[in-house]
Amino acid sequence: MVFKHDVLIVGAGLAGLRAATEVAGKADVALISKVYPTRSHSGAAQGGIAAALGNEEPDSEEWHTYDTVKGGDYLTDQNAAEILAKDAIRAVYELEHMGVPFNRTPEGKIAQRCFGGHTSNFGQAPVKRICYAADRSGRVIMDTLYFEAVKKGIKIYPEFHVLDLVFRDGQVAGLVAYELATGEVHFFHGRVVLLATGGYGKVYKVTSNAFANTGDGPALVYRQGLPLEDMEFVQFHPTGIYGLGVLITEAARGEGGVLRNTDGERFMERYAPTIKDLAPRDMVSRAIYTEIAAGRGIKGSDYVHLDLTHLGEKKLAERLSDISSFVKIYLGLDPAKDLIPVHPTCHYMMGGIPVNTEGNVTDEKNGIVPGLYAAGECSCISLHGANRLGCNSLLDLVVFGRRAGKNILENLDRLAWTAPPAFPERDSLERIRQLRENKKGERQVVIRRQLQKVMMDGCSVFREEKGLKKVVEALGELEKRANAISIDNKSNRYNTDLIDGLELLNMLPLAEAIAASALNRTESRGAHSREDYPQRDDEHWLKHTLIRRTGQGVSIGEKPVTITRFEPKPRTY
C-alpha cells in the first residue's frame, strides 16, 4: 500500500512524540514505530530531567551550560548547550502543565535533586538541578506525551519497521516500512521524514538498552552514503546490575549513595576529590574498571558495590522505588540492608546522525539534506560532546524534538511533494527476499552474540590500537556472514524472526562505524579512552568525526566544534 502524510516521524519515544505534538493540527503528521505505543525506550529513563529552576537552591542556566560543555569534555557544540540550558526551564514547566507528576518540595514546587556533573558556580559543588518523578521519570513523561498525542488525534502506525529511506534527486520522498501484523511492505510518501529511533546499545553485550535499540535510524542514513558523527563516543553508565546490565539510576548516588571497592573504600574520593561519586559517568566508569584492574573489585572479581544502606527505607521508597524493586527481583537483595553489585553497562550513544540545532540532517559538507530531520539519541547535534551528563537526555528530547517540529512547520511550504522513483520498495523487498530464501546460513543470534562480544572486549570503556584493529577486522567478517543468515520463519504474520535478522544487518555497520572512528581518534576525550593515547589533544582533535561508507570501505572526515564562551580547560572534578 501507499500511505501519504506531510510529515513522517519514525519512532514514538519522547523525541518523536514531542515533535509530533508540535506539528499536529498544522500539518498532517504520522508516527511510525516498530514497537507498540508506550513501549519505547525513553520510558526506561529513571533519574529525571535537568533544568536550572533553582527550586531547592540557587542555580543558573549559565552553570548548566558550562556543566554540559565540561561534561562533554569540550567537544560539545556550545551554541547547542546554550539553547538546551536556556530552554530547559520552559520545557519543564510545559511538561508540568501537561500533567507530568513530578515530586514536590514542601512549598509545592517541583522537587530537585543532585546528579553527576551538575554543579553550582562552575564546578564548585553538586547542585540540585534534576526534576524527577521518583525513579520512573522517563515513563511518566512519555505516557503524558503519548496521551497528549492521542488527544490531538495523531495517526500512529504501531509495529511498523522502517526498512529504507526513499530519495529523489537528493530530496526525501518518503520511506519504506514493513508491517509486522501482515508482513506487507508499504511505501510512505511524505514531504518530511524525521528520524527519532533512539540508540543502539544492543551492539554491546552488557547494556541497559532495550532489545528495540538497534539503531535503525542511523543505519538507514548510513546506508544512503550519508555520514554519521562522533560515533566513537559511547557512554557506559557506571552502575548496571552485575551480569544483567539493568540500570541503577545515578539518582541513587544523587540521593547520597556511594561506590565501594572490596576494601569498603569510597574510591571515588581519589578520582574526583570535589564531587566524588557525582563525577560524570565516563570518569566513574573508568574508575570502576581501574579499581577492578588493580584487584580491588569485590573479592577480586569484576564488579564493585553500590552502597545505599544509609539512605533509609523512606527515601528508597519515595525516590528510588523502581530500582529497589529491580534489585529485589533480579538479585534477591534489599538495598536498605545489602550492598548492590554493579559494573558499567553500555547506556547511551553520544554520536549519531549529524543535525544542526533545528533538527536538519547535514551531509559531509555540512549542507542540509532537504526534508530529512533527526532528533533524540539517534541524532548528534552535538550537544553531549564526548560524554553526556545524566538528565540532559530527556531534556534533549523535549527541547530539540520541539525545535525540529517547529522548523518542519516553518519550512513545509518550501518542501514540495517529490515524486517517488518507480519502485521505491525494490531494495527493501530484495533484502527481505534474500533473508527468507537463504538456506543453510547461520542463525542471526550466533552472529549477534559474536558482535556483542567483539564490541565489549575491544571497544568499550578502554580502547587501544591493536584491539580496535581486531574489532574492525572481525566486524567485516561478521557482516559477510550476516548477509548469508537464514531464518526459520517464512510466514507473514508477526514474523519477529525476520525483524531480528533485519536488525542485525542494521547493527553491524554501526558497530563498524564506532570501532573505525575510535581507531581514528588518537587521543582520549570523554567516553573515548585510548590506553595508547591517554591525554586529550586539543591541538589535533578538538573536532568532530564524520564517518561514511563509500564503495571502498569507510571514509573519515571532520567538522569543527562550535566554541562560544568556554575555552577548553583541563577537566577535573
Binding site: 525506550h41 520512573r136 527481583i329 510466514s491
Partner: protein, 237 residues
C-alpha cells in the same frame, strides 16, 4: 534442562490453539524472557511474543506463566523451582494475534475512555502549578502503571462482563481523579459511576495480586466507589 510448554496459535491457519514443548538449558537466575529468547533464537523462530526493555518498565511481555499473569522479564527460573514444566500462555481475555502476542488496542481504548490526561478549566500559571507533597502522594502509586495488561487479563469479572472497563483503566481514572491540578473531578466521578465503571468490581483482588508494579488496584477502586457514594447524590450501586 528446563521444560517449557508454550501455547501456539495462529488464528489464520490453526483451528485450535495447541501446545508445543521445548527444552532449555537455563540457570536459576535467568529470566523467563531469557528462556523464551533462547527458544526463539536457537530452536524455533516461528514463535511470536513481544518484549523490549527486559526489566519490567516497557510492559510488553505480559503473559500467563503457570496460570498466573506476569511479565516474563520479571520472573526468574528459580521462581518456578520444583515445577515439572513451565507453561506459557497469552494473557487471558485479550484476543490472540499469534502465540503469546495479543491485541492491545481494545485494552488501550478502555484506558483512553478514561481521558488519561489533565483537564484544566483555566490556563496554567507561568511557572509550575503548585502541588503539595501530600497531594502528589495521592497519585504516587497509580503513576507506576506501565500498561502491561496483567491486571485486566487476570480479572475474573472481565470474562463474564467484557464491557466492564477493567482495572487498568480504573488505575488511570484514579490517577487523574486525584491529581490536584485536574478540574474534571465531578465529570470523572460521573463516568466512573456508569454501569461498567467501578461497580462491576466485586473485590476478587486478582488484579492487585498480579500487578508487577505493586499498585493497590482493588483498594483504589473501592476508594473511588466510596467517593461516588459520598460526592454524587445518584450513585449507581
Amino acid at each position: 534442562m528446563l521444560k517449557f510448554r508454550i501455547l501456539r496459535f495462529d488464528p489464520e491457519s490453526d483451528k485450535e490453539p495447541w501446545y508445543k514443548t521445548y527444552e532449555v538449558d537455563a540457570g536459576p537466575g535467568e529470566r523467563i524472557l531469557d528462556c523464551l529468547n533462547k527458544i526463539k533464537w536457537e530452536q524455533d523462530g516461528t514463535l511470536a511474543y513481544r518484549m523490549s526493555c527486559a526489566h519490567g518498565v516497557c510492559g510488553s511481555d505480559g503473559m500467563r506463566i503457570n496460570g498466573v499473569c506476569a511479565l516474563a522479564c520479571q520472573k526468574l527460573v528459580k521462581d518456578y523451582a520444583g515445577a515439572e514444566e513451565i507453561t506459557l500462555e497469552p494473557l487471558p481475555f485479550f484476543q490472540v494475534k499469534k502465540d503469546l502476542l495479543v491485541d492491545m488496542d481494545d485494552f488501550l481504548d478502555r484506558v483512553r475512555s478514561m481521558r488519561p490526561y489533565l483537564v484544566r478549566d483555566q490556563a496554567p500559571p507561568e511557572k509550575e502549578s503548585l502541588q503539595s507533597p501530600e497531594e502528589h502522594a495521592k497519585v504516587e502509586q497509580a503513576i507506576r502503571c506501565i500498561l502491561c495488561g496483567c491486571c485486566t487479563s487476570a480479572c475474573p469479572v472481565m470474562a463474564q462482563n467484557p464491557d466492564y472497563v477493567g482495572p487498568a483503566a480504573l488505575v488511570w481514572a484514579y490517577r487523574f481523579l486525584y491529581d490536584s491540578r485536574d478540574s474534571a473531578f465531578t465529570d470523572r466521578l460521573e463516568k466512573l459511576n456508569e454501569p461498567n465503571g467501578v461497580w462491576p468490581c466485586t473485590n476478587h483482588f486478582d488484579c492487585t495480586r498480579v500487578c508487577p508494579k505493586d499498585i493497590p488496584i482493588t483498594k483504589s477502586i473501592n476508594f473511588m466507589k466510596r467517593e461516588i457514594k459520598n460526592k454524587l447524590s445518584h450513585s449507581g450501586e
